[in-house]
Amino acid sequence: MKEKAVEKEAGNIGYLPQRTWSRAESLKYEEPEDLFSEPLEITRTMLRGLRMVDETIIVYDVEDASGSKQ
């Protein structure tokens, strides 16, 4: 109960703990790291409409029999 009272005095809502945001010391630009040991390659057709795609994938065009790209 004592802990809750302290949190409340610190401006929290009821007994809810406050966010500390301690894992983001400074907001600095960092290029993303590889997600997989080998990059995943998919066709552009597979990509269309696929949700939550990671940016590490390599999307390539494939040509059908008529020579047009998909």
């Binding site: 945001w21 894992r23 983001a24 907001l27 960092e30 997989f36 409409g49 949700r51 390599i58």
Partner: protein
């Protein structure tokens, strides 16, 4: 402070547009910027920028240590674009507990078989067990992985009363999720949000293929990296598309300007356009403060929708 104490927001006849993003895919690159941020001036008086850190926590268990930093950095990149625009809101999903209550009630009208089918249209469903392990995912999906991507964002967009979801073509994949939920709710709960396609849904990378991490130009990267990427590009198709994105062709006559002159103009234009991201003056505190403020706005909107939804289900106290 309680939700009831907040001033009643004008639920407004204006149409809200949601732009949703996964923070775990790293800093934004030109492709993501062109398929979303570039179009924001059309919607900025009623724009909700959502960074879905919850989806990041679900899909990237092996990288959760960087979830907070990436979420705030991604949000800051977006805030740079629209920080002073009245009417633009910035929402981090983990700050909206009403979203999860709403998702649960929404799940009551969703067929599990349909949810499973929609899940098959997601990235983690197609990558196979070895790559799932590399991401820290189990061989089979968790209940959250199976359900939240189909119901969570759709519930948020519907609950906010948004009319549109904008973005690259992957956002079109959320239309079946909207249909699944909206078709089974009373019409007075609101109309089904529509997908607003981007002007540039498929942006080419420096090698002429679809832009991803391996061939990207990042909006916050140092000036020398932007210049190096643009000058090193050997794809005429990519250069032409970037010229169209940055409207470079409008200011130079392509019939008379040399290739070298056109490229230099493109480099200078992109470097200048991305300067605010590189030189961002927004501190972590300012980002967090804005998130806290806009979270209350979103929570209040969702709480009103939730109240109506609970009435539909005849929940006690919501008659």
């Amino acid at each position: 402070m309680t939700l009831k104490m907040l001033p009643v927001q004008n639920s407004s006849s204006k149409s809200l547009t949601v732009s949703a993003h996964n923070p775990m895919t790293g800093p934004r690159h030109l492709g993501q910027w062109a398929s979303t941020v570039l179009d924001w001036p059309q919607y900025q008086d009623n724009l909700v920028v959502v960074v879905d850190d919850v989806i990041g926590a679900i899909l990237y268990p092996g990288a959760r240590q960087s979830l907070e930093a990436r979420s705030l950095f991604t949000m800051r990149e977006f805030m740079v674009s629209n920080f002073d625009v009245i009417g633009t809101r910035f929402v981090l999903t983990s700050m909206i507990p009403e979203l999860f209550e709403l998702s649960f009630y929404a799940s009551m009208v969703c067929d599990q078989d349909l949810v499973a089918t929609l899940y098959e249209q997601t990235f983690p469903a197609i990558i196979g067990p070895v790559r799932r392990k590399e991401m820290g995912l189990g061989v089979t999906p968790s209940a959250a992985e199976l359900n939240y991507p189909q119901i969570g964002l759709a519930s948020l967009v519907i609950g906010l009363g948004a009319s549109f979801l904008q973005g690259g073509e992957e956002m079109a994949g959320y239309v079946p999720c909207f249909e699944m939920i909206c078709s089974r709710l009373p019409a007075e709960m609101g109309s089904q949000p529509k997908y607003l396609p981007a002007r540039f849904p498929f942006v080419l990378g420096t090698d002429g293929e679809h832009m991803g991490d391996h061939n990207a130009v990042y909006i916050s990267s140092p000036e020398r990296d932007v210049e190096s990427a643009l000058r090193g590009c050997r794809s005429p198709a990519a250069l032409e598309q970037w010229g169209a994105i940055f409207e470079c062709e409008d200011s130079l006559d392509p019939s008379s300007a040399s290739e070298r002159l056109r490229r230099t103009h493109l480099v200078e234009t992109v470097i200048e356009r991305f300067r605010p991201y590189r030189e961002c003056a927004l501190s972590k505190g300012e980002v967090v403060e804005r998130l806290e403020l806009d979270a209350w706005w979103a929570r209040e909107r969702l709480s009103h929708f939730l109240d109506a939804l609970k009435s539909v289900f005849l929940m006690p106290g919501h008659g």
